[in-house]
Symmetry: C2
Subunit: 247 residues, 2 copies
């Protein structure tokens, strides 16, 4: 295929060092996304297996995503300052800053889950709840993987699909929330562990939210359209009431 | 004082329409900050007084901050695209995008607290816990007010002070977290209300975190230096264990 028919090359600018700089940004986002994804996976594995060693690895890996965010931010600003990018490149650059911020938060969520592995170690953790958490995290991870794919392949379609699927995570989170409350009421010895698991569930739900934010940035980057903020709204547990007799 | 000695006027660009555009951004940030601050105040008042009407106002006000963020983002990108800003202006513009994102999240936190007002209405809410929450929210609001001042007055000093004070909020949040767990263990009928209050406390702690993020953006905007990510790290409750017998 001749070079000029390749839409993604945006042939209008000729400075190849500039192209390389833009590609550097996208490559760094992809790498950062890979690290964040691995941190989420490992934090859940550590939680399921009470693996304190693995959880400590996740905690220290958080520095990698922090550093990546700083680097992407600095590079983005430096490209804008020196290259005076045209509109479509500018969208890519601004989207990189936003996506890096969301990935950094996802790293924080994974780190927070990892810290709780240490807190709940040795406490009774109802198996059924752990399975529920695992299921929730699988959905969140799928969202994260697909939105990173959408970013790498510049697919507005895929980004849109991710954004629309966030509701599923929210529904499962809400039912897990109810279940956790019920366990706490059944036996006060469950309260400490369940509270930590509640925050783990909330962290996973927020990972889903950040994946949705990234989907919006990818959509903006590829289409130039900022999606309306009216998306299916997250966490419905704020209105959940469970009473001791289960009503 | 002669115009040219005023550092903040950045006399290098002469297009006054451009200055107005930059000022528009900062004015919009200040307005948005005012709305976010009011939402936080009102969500806490609603929680303290079980005022469902006020909580509904907070929930609908969230649209204002969502809209403000979108507007600031669009304006920022359009200024960069058309004006090719020089480095120091570019920092202001990039910082506006970041600050608007944090303010939008603060609005979300206030909305989440407001939603829980409805969930806990009519349930027993230990007075001492509510006072603890109120105290936590006063600290978070002080942080928010001061960081908005730092932004309006372009004070790197003030921004630095806000960033360093985040630890205080974290310490109080951690003790409140312990107290909430203890109440739940004492009487299972407290569990539903306490769980919602736990999330309210977490939301307030996160408002403090977002104020700290804004402090970092203001610091960057005024000095050009990105503060190292190693700041006093938030939520220490992830390692809190409370057992039924209170040990």
């Amino acid at each position: 295929m001749p070079e000029q028919t390749n839409v993604s090359s945006k042939a209008a600018h000729t400075v190849s060092a500039y192209d390389e700089e833009l590609q550097f940004l996208m490559r760094r986002i992809a790498e950062m996304g890979g690290v964040a994804e691995r941190m989420v996976e490992e934090s859940i594995t550590a939680l399921m297996n009470s693996d304190v060693g693995l959880s400590q690895k996740v905690i220290s890996d958080d520095l990698l995503v922090d550093e990546a965010e700083r680097q992407i931010g600095e590079k983005a600003v430096s490209i804008i300052a020196r290259r005076q990018p045209m509109a479509s490149d500018l969208r890519d650059i601004i989207a990189s800053i936003r996506i890096a911020a969301d990935l950094e938060r996802i790293g924080d969520m994974a780190k927070n889950i990892a810290k709780r592995v240490i807190a709940v170690e040795g406490l009774a953790q109802p198996k059924k709840l752990l399975r529920g958490l695992e299921h929730l995290s699988e959905l969140a991870l799928t969202q994260l993987k697909e939105v990173l794919d959408a970013c790498a392949t510049r697919s507005a379609e895929l980004a849109k699909a991710v954004r629309e699927r966030d509701e599923e995570i929210d529904a499962i989170y809400t039912s897990l929330f109810r279940e956790l409350l019920t366990y706490m009421m059944e036996d006060p010895r469950n309260i400490t562990a369940c509270t930590h698991l509640l925050f783990c569930a909330k962290n996973i739900e927020r990972i889903g939210d950040h994946a949705t934010n990234i989907a919006e940035s990818v959509y903006y980057m590829t289409t130039g359209i900022q999606p309306e903020n009216e998306r299916p709204q997250g966490d419905e547990t704020s209105s959940v009431a469970v009473t001791v007799d289960g009503k």
